[in-house]
């Protein structure tokens, strides 16, 4: 094994071009587990810890451009305003020690269907900035996941950043696990209300081979909210509507039975989480509308 230690992003891209089998390592919270357990013996480890750019985030028009290696702890502390869904999801990642090292870039690189960031990225809307010596391309996050632990990166590409739409309305995240801390999701659900476009977006984790959006549920809910004039009135979402939204979300799942839960349980849990996150987010939206109207 060789340990490659680029000092700049350009050097990292050059190293990845020269050694396409090199495994990038930043926080190490996935890669080192595989090495410790002898599940992986990469020819090259490509250490990204020295590349300061990857640890920065900035505003980019309506997006937050989040450096690939910004740890979850900093997302929680610094980005709860523009990225509330991702900040909520970040709070559920592993433990303080893991959140101090793990990052969204790592979640995307590993592309586990259970990665906690994925539902929030899908719900907010995001593009993955994939770079190589050939140039940079933006991959819509829903096209980034190509299979269980597989993604759309070419062998010479590295994740530079994720461009995530800033919230224009309330966002929520929910996750089912056996306890509060250090839990890999049995399944998870992210929801974002987008009042500016009168749309709703969702993300489902760990209930299909890849993270997915529940598009039928999104379309149904957007149409129903518009039909009933709820965006304008700020009235409560009728329970039957919320229930149907949940059922449609469950319909977007394609889960498996495994040690963490059965397929049937996952479908049921996704329906419940969809209904509940809608309730929480809609309450926040209504509160906001009321405040705006009173002012």
């Amino acid at each position: 094994m060789d340990f490659l230690r680029p000092g700049s992003w350009e050097e990292a891209l050059a190293a990845k071009a020269e050694h396409p089998t090199a495994v990038p390592i930043a926080g190490g919270t996935d890669v080192m587990v595989e090495i410790n357990f002898d599940h992986r013996r990469p020819e090259y480890l490509l250490d990204l810890n020295r590349i300061g750019d990857l640890y920065e985030w900035g505003d980019d028009a309506g997006d937050v451009r989040l450096g690939a290696a910004v740890p979850y702890t900093r997302i929680i502390e610094e980005l709860g305003g523009p990225l509330p869904g991702l900040a909520l999801a970040s709070r559920t990642v592993g433990s303080p020690q893991i959140r101090n090292r793990g990052s969204v870039g790592g979640n995307l690189g590993a592309a586990s269907p259970a990665g906690d960031a994925h539902p929030a990225l899908l719900a907010a809307g995001a593009d993955v900035e994939a770079a190589s010596v050939r140039g940079t391309r933006l991959i819509p996050v829903e096209e980034f996941y190509t299979g269980v632990k597989r993604n759309a990166l070419a062998p010479d590409e590295l994740i530079r950043a994720v461009r995530i739409r800033k919230a224009d309305g309330p966002q929520q995240f929910s996750k089912v696990g056996t306890r509060n801390a250090m839990v890999i999701a049995v399944c998870a659900f992210g929801l974002a209300l987008h009042p500016e476009t009168r749309t709703v977006r969702t993300g489902i984790g760990s209930a299909a081979p890849t993270p997915v959006r529940a598009r039928a549920a999104e379309d149904f809910l957007a149409a129903a909210l518009a039909d009933e004039g709820l965006w304008e009135s700020g009235a409560p979402v009728p329970p039957a509507l919320a229930r149907q939204f949940g059922e449609l979300a469950a319909g977007a799942c394609n889960p498996i039975d495994d040690v963490r839960g059965s397929a049937r349980y996952r479908r049921h849990a996704v329906a419940v989480m969809a209904r509940r996150t809608l309730g929480w987010a809609w309450d926040a939206y209504r509160g906001r509308e009321r405040t705006a109207r009173c002012a």
């Binding site: 340990f3 190490g28 587990v33 357990f37 303080p96 893991i98 509060n180 801390a181 250090m182």
Partner: protein, 170 residues
């Protein structure tokens, strides 16, 4: 490969380090610092918690090469680290413990002791940033450290004791 870094304030050099080796292995097996414990090797148990440039991390998930040029504090260096942080001169008695270590002993928070080093590093970091933590703060800060003796209540007592003593002293 060779790795140069600072451990508990002292420059250290480890030779013939395998590229896939963890920081934990280097600390324990190459530098003779067995305080950080090796248990799950997957970031679940927290028994290998150390400070890396001040940040609590699982040493089992840091590749040794990633520690190059960095500063590591292990449980062995906790007493000196705490004294330095308090602006006190280096201790004369090498057996003197850090306040959080003393509180663990006084509260009976040590059973088999295997999880203790990681808990001490995590608890010390908590009190550094939050001198008067709520019970929820303590539970959250220690949620990455497992005690399979299940001695959690005494561990919570110890952190409360350390915080109370620091409050009285301050």
């Amino acid at each position: 490969m060779r790795v140069n870094f600072t451990v508990n304030g002292r420059p250290q050099q480890a030779d013939d380090v395998w590229e896939g080796e963890s920081l934990l292995y280097v600390l324990r097996e190459r530098l003779g610092l067995p305080g950080s414990k090796n248990a799950c090797e997957q970031g679940e148990c927290g028994s290998c918690t150390v400070r890396l440039d001040g940040v609590p991390v699982c040493a089992c998930l840091v590749a040794a090469g990633q520690a190059e040029g960095r500063e590591v504090v292990t449980v062995e260096g906790l007493a000196a680290y705490a004294r330095h942080r308090a602006g006190r001169p280096p201790r004369e008695d090498p057996a003197e413990l850090s306040p959080v270590q003393q509180a663990f002993i006084d509260a009976g928070a040590v059973q088999c002791g295997f999880c203790t080093p990681g808990l001490l590093v995590a608890a010390d970091d908590l009190l550094e940033h939050n001198p008067d933590p709520s019970d929820a703060d303590i539970r959250e800060a220690l949620s990455g450290n497992l005690c399979r003796c299940t001695g959690y209540e005494k561990i919570l007592d110890a952190v409360r004791l350390a915080a109370a003593r620091a409050g009285e002293a301050g």
